[in-house]
Amino acid sequence: VILLRLGAALLVLLSLFGFGETLSRRLALSSTPFQSATIGLCLFLAGGGFLGVAGLYGTVAVSVLIGAGVLLGLFHVFRRLVEQPAIGRSEAITALPFLVAGILVLLTAQHGFWFVQGDDMQGYLPLIKKLVQTGVLGSSSFSEKDFFDLGGASVLQGVFVGWFGVSAVNLADLGIGGLLLLGLIGERAAVRRYGLVGAAILVWVALALNEDARPVSPVLLIEAPCLMLVLWMWEDMPLRPAHFIVWGVVAAALIALKSTAIVFLGVLSIGVFCANCLAHGPGKALKHAVMAAVVALCCVAPYLYASVKYAGTPLYPLLGTGFQAKELGDGMLGRGQATWNNLAHFVLANQQLEIVLLVAAGMALFALGRAKILAIGGIAIAAALVAVALEIPWATFAIGDSDHGVRYALPFYAALLLGSMVDWRIVTGGRLWGWLFAAALVVAIPYCARDPDFSHPSLARSDFVYGLTGSREKALAVFHPFPIFPLEEGGEAVARLQQAAKPGTGMLVVVDRPYQMDFARNRIETVDCPGRVSPPPGMPLYGSDAQMVSYLRASGIRYLAFSYGDNANYTPALMQMRMKQADHPWSAYCSKAMVAMQGFLRRARTRAPVVYDDGQTFLIDLSS
């Protein structure tokens, strides 16, 4: 089974390479193999988005798509083998650490272990399963997870979930994303003849920085395309027209993966535009910018459309706050609470802020010594580092992330730092200053990880132990901050529950394993953070029970399911603790809302007919 999963991941990678290489050759863009695969990933996300909007996404459809990509990939591999000489000994030696790291990353990703009971089990996993079984993108009107991720990652995650089940979901972000990231860095290291030691250091830095970059929300899938753009800015300025078409495709994929990418893309795009103005004049620069924007808009259109249709806004919160409860105001905290003191509090809560700002200052100083166009590229990268570090309050206030938004900045500053490290000779001019810069970056970069204290227990290590041994006991011995639930369990109980509901009807489920439901049989709605997203006029969570029942009926919900035996895996102690966390507005809001929701469900059971109850979970019928 392990070999089958690893083989499937490699086939998907080959397929992405096939798509990207085809576009690169059409545009006469000399891309490296992993650059082509990264471009292919972005094209696949655009194509998958269109399939999802048309309701045609499914295991068969994506298998056909992947198959076509594999054929293209094989053709281009053969073509490259004929056209290019075999790699030399020094390149092979440099590639060795990347190869070993790639195998270890794939082994870690092949069977996911570490999934949290809230975000993953109630949010991301059901959405991926729903996309696979219904074929429709972003069709959940009560779940917030497509709200700011726009569902881009689920298009690739759905491939592996469709083939192997939810336990293979990490093959997308950690697996494919990790391989793309290592490949992009490895290619550059090989060209620059880093040697075994330099390559090993680069691999260590990349892995240390991303050690805890999970669970299901994408990180590495974002880092790889970002890294490609950063390398272009260091190496290929001023960019050619072909670059701008690909820039548009990549920008669309990044926004579909994580809407906070807009800040990163905006700053880099301004830098590219300015450099282009200097090189070719404002007229041509404007033409290229419009070309990139049109391509980006076309590719991201399906995601924006799905978000408008099911969440009420094309891009939260920049273009509207969508269908959320009125008491939430214009964001998780509301703009009224975005005072200078609050902003400063959340900016300074980022433990990595000083390091990122200092590295950015150092890069800007190096950039100022370069020729004009190259200087603009370097300063744009330094400015992007500052911007993504400072966007954390935006993530906190608008999205309300529980980790001060650091999770939303990590993929972007990781790409900026890693790209600058790989190209340290270009950044610095390559003399003694360069060696000092590179050595200091080796120390500084891993401290930009989410948890900068290297003595913490690592979820990456527990995932690795599980991927290698398949033993829950051994994985839990490495790291178990709170109970980790086996993904595969609970399928039969959920199936029995669902049999009690009439096919084709709407169900709102607050159960411990909602991703086990058959999303094709009924319209299943999961509620990961009640009231955050709900059909208009907004869920009256704090109104009367009668108001709630009539609202749910009007929204097409006939059945309510609740795992009352284990509170759907949310222990009362955990929720009480989270409700008091002023520094974690999202956790506090969601826990308070979940307590209110569970209270409503318990009361509703005494008033509506119970059609199923197994002592752990009940199903009630709201139709009578």
């Binding site: 030691v197 200092l358 590295v359 890069m363 003694l432 200053w433 050595a439 970056l441 401290y447 290297f454």
Partner: protein, 125 residues
Amino acid sequence: MKRDHGEQKGVVVPALLFGVAVAAGYVVWRVAAHRIHLHNDVAVALGLAVFVCGAAVSAFAGGGARAGGFVLAVAALVVALMGLGWLAHLYWFRAVDSPGLTASWTIVGVGALSLAERLTRRVRS
């Protein structure tokens, strides 16, 4: 074959030595942090020092005395700059910072020196 002219030697011995350097640095850090209970920053610094010495030996085995000396010289400069950064941070912010922060102070220092050097060269030419 002379050993001190930066010639490329085989890769197996330097690679093994580098692996040993990584392992030794890791072990020193873990022991210092978790057995001797030194502050984690100090333990990281000790581990890094052991790793740098090992990397220098590895470079010596692979590229001769010049390569080994170069790695040591770069490491010494980094340590010196990091020390200055550490002192500066302590003076301005009255707080002990992490190795990551001192390293990023180093980057600012190196960037400033590099810019000063380039500007001086431009003025002279």
